[in-house]
């Protein structure tokens, strides 16, 4: 295996162990890894920002689309937000971005998340369904959709009181079930990710020379770093 790959695996594995240490106690190794992560994320964003500007802006500009000069100026104006007096200039390019975003989402939300969903719910059969379980499921489905929409649409207190209070209560029960499903799936998701990292350490790092010794050393150093300074066995305070 090439040396650069070996070093890469060592670094990645140590970072993994240091990040996992936060589950037990905060420590300086975790802080170091955390700051590396934040710096890397910001640097990566900057790199791809420049790459996108080059590929979608500069290349078009050099290809003859001179109107892109205006776009570049607008992009630079975005950073005027840091100026104490002329921060409002950044609202102009921001307005274009917000306008595009609103236009794109509003034009499709009506169809995709409103009409299509209502159409699908209205198309659920209640008559002519021979299987009782399917019929019950369909009925529960429609009831939960209607009650959940009621829960979010009618928020004034009177709509949740008296005889009408049964409606938001049913909606709450349905949403509890949905959130519980999401919760259990989140556990599945996270455990898959933990497995991915542990698998990397076990199959990529530990077979490397020295790693099997480095692992307990790293863990001992971590335990030391997690202890409060007065409880550390070394250095002894005079």
């Amino acid at each position: 295996m090439e040396l650069d790959l070996v070093i890469q695996i060592w670094l990645a594995s140590l970072f993994t162990i240091w990040i996992y240490s936060i589950a037990f106690r905060d420590n300086d190794f975790f802080k170091f890894a955390e700051y590396t992560f934040v710096g890397a994320a910001a640097g990566h964003s900057l790199v791809y920002g420049v790459d996108n500007l080059r590929r979608y802006g500069w290349d078009n500009l050099m290809g003859g689309a001179y109107l892109y000069i205006v776009v570049f100026l607008l992009g630079i104006l975005l950073y005027s937000r840091y100026h104490p007096q002329y921060f409002w200039v950044s609202r102009y390019p921001l307005s274009i971005m917000v306008g595009i975003g609103i236009g794109l989402s509003m034009r499709a939300v009506v169809t995709a998340e409103f009409i299509a969903q209502i159409k699908s719910t209205a198309g659920i059969k209640l008559i002519g369904v021979s299987d009782p379980i399917t019929l019950l499921s369909n009925l529960i489905f429609i009831i939960l959709v209607v009650t959940t929409v009621y829960f979010f649409l009618f928020t004034f207190p009177k709509s949740h009181e008296g005889g009408l209070s049964i409606i938001p209560r049913i909606a709450r029960y349905g949403m509890m079930a949905a959130f519980s499903y999401s919760f259990a799936n989140t556990v599945l998701s996270r455990y898959n990710m933990i497995f991915g990292r542990l698998d990397y350490i076990y199959n990529q790092w530990l077979p490397l020379p020295g790693a099997i010794i480095a692992l307990p050393v790293a863990l001992i150093l971590l335990i030391y770093a997690m202890l409060p300074p007065e409880k550390r066995p070394w250095p002894k305070k005079q």
Partner: protein, 283 residues
């Protein structure tokens, strides 16, 4: 009475997190060292996905959005690789990839390193598959590519002009594609494709998301807007269908045992809680 030692129920109801995490880690590690080979069922959504790719006509063009970040790679990476295996093995499907995630190009390189398309399937970059890179803007990028891909980008992810690649012949906009696939860790992306491609152009769409995002995509699938929603956690099932066992299927043993441990924790917590309540009530 206060001042007395903790009862067994107090201890069971308040197990320190170090113990919880320590046992969890042990349960993670044991099946990794000693695989149990437990069975993995194939779910209906994974079968629907598989069938959708199988039913693509020869010469079909597929757009894939590598929209996940490094955080989701352990879950979605195996799924992405398994689906690529399926499509490239057919030999008559063109796969064009883009990214709405800023880490997409790096993760695509990672997937290709695992897949080895040239060695395994004789696939040629620029003829059978290509990556047009990360395009900033989220839904704006989706809409722009769908409206006019060539006006949005003229190079691949390394900066080589698209005109040099035969796979891009005739690719103009969303109408040029027979199927859209998205792998993502962001709800905005998976829902954005429904809004910007399926709703506007009617492009058939499937997505694989983190397991925790599946609930938000279910209404779209139920309404027929998405063919299939799978989670990356089902990668093992896809690997079984395409007969290329890899990282996905390895996790099955671990997931089974850790989930059983979770249920044990819940039972212990509830037994302790109820017992403490009864104890407190009887005093």
């Amino acid at each position: 009475m206060s001042g007395q030692g903790k009862s067994i129920w107090d201890t069971l109801g308040d197990i320190p997190r170090e113990v919880l995490y320590g046992v969890l880690l042990v349960v993670f590690v044991i099946p990794m060292i000693y695989p149990l080979g437990l069975p993995v069922p194939i779910s209906a959504n994974v079968l629907k996905w598989y069938k959708a790719v199988e039913d693509l006509p020869p010469g079909a063009v597929v757009m894939i959005d590598f929209g996940y970040s490094g955080g989701g790679e352990p879950e979605l990476g195996p799924m992405a690789v398994a689906v690529y295996h399926h499509m490239l093995r057919r030999g008559d499907i063109k796969v064009i990839c883009m990214s709405t995630s800023i880490e997409g190009p790096q993760l695509w390189d990672k997937a290709m390193a695992e897949l080895r398309p040239e060695q395994r399937y004789g696939a040629v970059y620029g003829v059978d598959y290509i990556n047009i890179g990360y395009i900033a803007g989220g839904e704006t990028a989706m809409a722009a590519v769908g409206k006019d891909l060539r006006a949005t980008t003229s190079t691949d992810y390394k900066g080589t002009p698209l005109d040099q690649y035969s796979i891009m012949d005739g690719i103009v906009d969303a109408h040029s594609f027979d199927l859209l696939i998205c792998y993502t860790t962001g709800g905005d992306q998976s829902e954005g494709w429904v809004r910007q491609w399926y709703t506007v152009y009617g492009t058939p769409y499937m997505c694989s998301v983190l397991a925790m995002m599946v609930p938000t995509m279910l209404p779209y699938m139920n309404a027929g807007q998405i063919i299939s929603v799978t989670s990356g956690a089902q990668a093992g099932e896809m690997e079984g269908l395409v007969h290329v066992p890899a990282r996905g299927i390895k996790s099955a043993d671990v997931i089974t045992l850790t989930h059983m441990l979770c249920v044990v924790y819940v039972v212990i917590g509830n037994v302790a809680y109820i017992a403490k309540k009864f104890q407190g009530g009887s005093k």
